[in-house]
Symmetry: C2
Amino acid sequence: MYELVSLVNRQYGFEGIAMKLQRKPQEPGKTGKVTRPQDPEGTRRNILEVASKEFALNGLSGARIDEIAARTRSSKRMIYYYFGDKEGLYLHALENAYRLVRDGETKLDTDGLAPPEALRKLVEFTFDHHRRHEEFIRMVMIENIHHGQYLERSDIIREVNKTAIDHIARIYHRGVSDGTFRAGIDPVDLHWQVSALCFFNVSNRATFAKIFDRDLDSEAAQARLRNNTVATILRFVSLRPDMAS
Amino acid sequence: MYELVSLVNRQYGFEGIAMKLQRKPQEPGKTGKVTRPQDPEGTRRNILEVASKEFALNGLSGARIDEIAARTRSSKRMIYYYFGDKEGLYLHALENAYRLVRDGETKLDTDGLAPPEALRKLVEFTFDHHRRHEEFIRMVMIENIHHGQYLERSDIIREVNKTAIDHIARIYHRGVSDGTFRAGIDPVDLHWQVSALCFFNVSNRATFAKIFDRDLDSEAAQARLRNNTVATILRFVSLRPDMAS
DNA sequence: GACTAAACTAACTAGTTCGTACATTCTTGT
DNA sequence: ACAAGAATGTACGAACTAGTTAGTTTAGTC
């Protein structure tokens, strides 16, 4: 009997189980009775949350499966049950980080604003958003240390940032049309600039602050860097930058 | 007798030995006879070079002492003899990375140029320099993952980037004086902007390229990003940015 | 209410990894 | 020439770590 169970598990693998779980979102642990000991979705989510924190904090090789298991409401066996192996868990954590951040980004609406104001709002939003999601930034850093080899395996993630480009491209083209922005800039390059400044603010805060003996975490310092970043981007795209910021 | 040696080593620690080696730079292996089997400085340098590569590639927890030892002309025993433990080796590798990059940076001279041209040259140099020293960038990324806790222990590193600030500050103040740059920008903030753009270009190349399906390594793409970066910085500081780039 | 697949647990294993004890060779000052 | 100490090689062990084995419990279904 146990042989059979074992066989079935091996046959479908954890992906099969995961798909089944997604197909049937019954929300057992939350809305149902609290006394219910079995809660697959809850267990899975709990593991993923704990793992995300641990990977973001310690990296792929630095994170410990035993440590993750200990912080979980569940056990180590369950990690392997749902995610196969350490790399599988990491990949899911990475995808999860991207998904969380995308979900937040879609809330921004700039269609009613004039292009410079729209771009200002987008940059400010990106700056704040990156700052709020340090865990995501750290996952991207870690993934870059691994040369993006896990991101490469994920179909989900590529999709995520396409919307970001669409958004900034729309603003930019509106600005070119009404004569406030100069033509000839690739929207991806513009996004690159915004990303670079907003990303660096979080990713390199530790070393930058320590080398130059500055408190970059203070509200005053962050407000200044934020203003600088907006000014930088607006001046980069504007036809008459001295009027822009 | 061996007890005594052991005792002495423990008493002075590896720092004592390291200092002694620095105090007496006899250059044994290179200019001297090649047949000399013992070459402490060479061994030390060789270990450090190998370790730097391994740490930059795999991170602190990802790097393996046995792997480093295997790639060395020497042995694992020597790593512990000279650097104490894994963290000691990492710290020296980190310091070494900063030192190497600083040594390269001091070669830049912009004193004869007009401020906009000087700043352009500085940005271009920084862009190229970061790109050439990917190993350094990766070490800084890794150190940021560790919240800069090792950098904190190092007195040497803080010194390094002071000269970078001095340089950009001098250019900026010359520009303000002659009326080409706007006043009120903190030179550290300006350096922050330059660093962000040049750093991001190397640090996030993997994920950015994979998400947007672009070859950012090509000479054409790099030239474009380099031009954009220069334009961005010049427009940020200039009084009349539309004239600057 | 018996049956079955899914969910879950505890203990274990095979292999890795940092670090060290012990032994030997080389170099230098006297 | 010869101590004394610096530099190096070998082999090993204790602790850790990813992953597994073997078994139990739960909950939906017929």
